[in-house]
């Protein structure tokens, strides 16, 4: 098993299973989410908070609680009613 480089401070314990985390590597511009939440204030991540309660976490839930699905509309050509 590969090891992540040791962090100076605590990172979110769910990094290995979070469905959204690897998606932040798609563009460097997305690193801000990692710095802000995953490697920073993960306790305020909406996904983390739901997981602590044992509730299912939708893939599309962003750490700040916003939904990603509506933002996909321009690229999918769907209207809001279908989402």
């Amino acid at each position: 098993m590969t090891d992540r480089p040791a962090a100076a401070k605590k990172t979110c314990s769910h990094l290995d299973t979070c469905e959204l985390f690897p998606k932040f590597a798609m563009k460097a511009a997305l690193k801000v989410w990692q710095s802000c939440y995953c490697e920073g204030q993960f306790e305020s991540c909406a996904r983390y908070k739901l997981a602590l309660q044992g509730r299912p976490v939708a893939q599309s839930l962003l750490p700040n609680g916003k939904e990603l699905a509506p933002m996909l509309l321009p690229w999918l050509g769907m209207n809001a009613r279908e989402v």
Binding site: P22, P56, A58, Q59, K66, A69, P74
Partner: protein, 204 residues
């Protein structure tokens, strides 16, 4: 072979071990039954989450990346790195996305079918609706057994959900990876089961 014709230990060991590893390699999910069952107990929320992800399933990588960048801009403003090149991610295989409820339903159905198949190949369903003479002798028989089964089942359900896994999730998968939580959980449930069984047998 034991008197009832059950598999010798090495055959069962090989098969269960292969299933544990094979499951991960095939679907990239940890083998486990409690978590799957729990999804159906919490069905409303699970369906809600799956509905939200339906749109995501339609998007390709490019659309997803574009949407994420747009969301980033909306949430953090323009004070962010203008670079849109991908970041290096170590090329490792992680666990995959949470499976569709239908897939998990098939998994649970498969477990039932597996029991049925075993019985059919041996010439017929289990004799009698109960758990056998041993259960009646050790625990209790008749209609009172129904209450004990429900109570025992409740302890199983509550305990596995609390511990975050059962004999397959912690016992097989977690222990094979030497995960501390699984080792402790397995020791706990095994010890408790032994204790209660010995007590029921009259040894304690």
């Amino acid at each position: 072979m034991s008197t009832a014709g059950y598999w010798p230990w090495w055959a069962g060991a090989a098969a269960l071990g292969a299933i544990t590893v094979g499951f991960w390699m095939a679907v990239r999910r940890p083998l486990g039954v409690t978590g799957v069952l729990a999804r159906f107990v919490n069905l409303r929320e699970e369906i809600e989450a799956e509905r939200k992800d339906a749109a995501l399933a339609l998007a390709d990588e490019a659309a997803l990346a574009a949407a994420l960048v747009a969301a980033t801009r909306e949430s953090f403003g323009d004070a962010m790195s203008p670079s849109l090149t991908p970041l290096p991610m170590p090329a490792v295989r992680r666990s995959g996305a949470r499976p569709r409820l239908a897939a998990h339903a098939l998994f649970l159905g498969g477990l039932v079918a597996g029991g049925l198949l075993s019985r059919l190949l041996r010439g017929g369903l289990a004799s009698g609706p109960g758990l056998g003479d041993a259960y009646a002798r050790v625990v209790c028989g008749g209609w009172r057994a129904c209450a004990v089964l429900i109570a025992g089942g409740a302890l199983v359900g509550f305990g596995t959900a609390l511990a975050g896994g059962c004999s397959s999730g912690h016992g097989l998968f977690g222990c094979a990876r030497l995960q501390p939580g699984s080792l402790v959980a397995t020791a706990s449930f095994f010890g408790a089961a032994v204790g209660v069984s010995l007590f029921l047998e009259g040894g304690l």
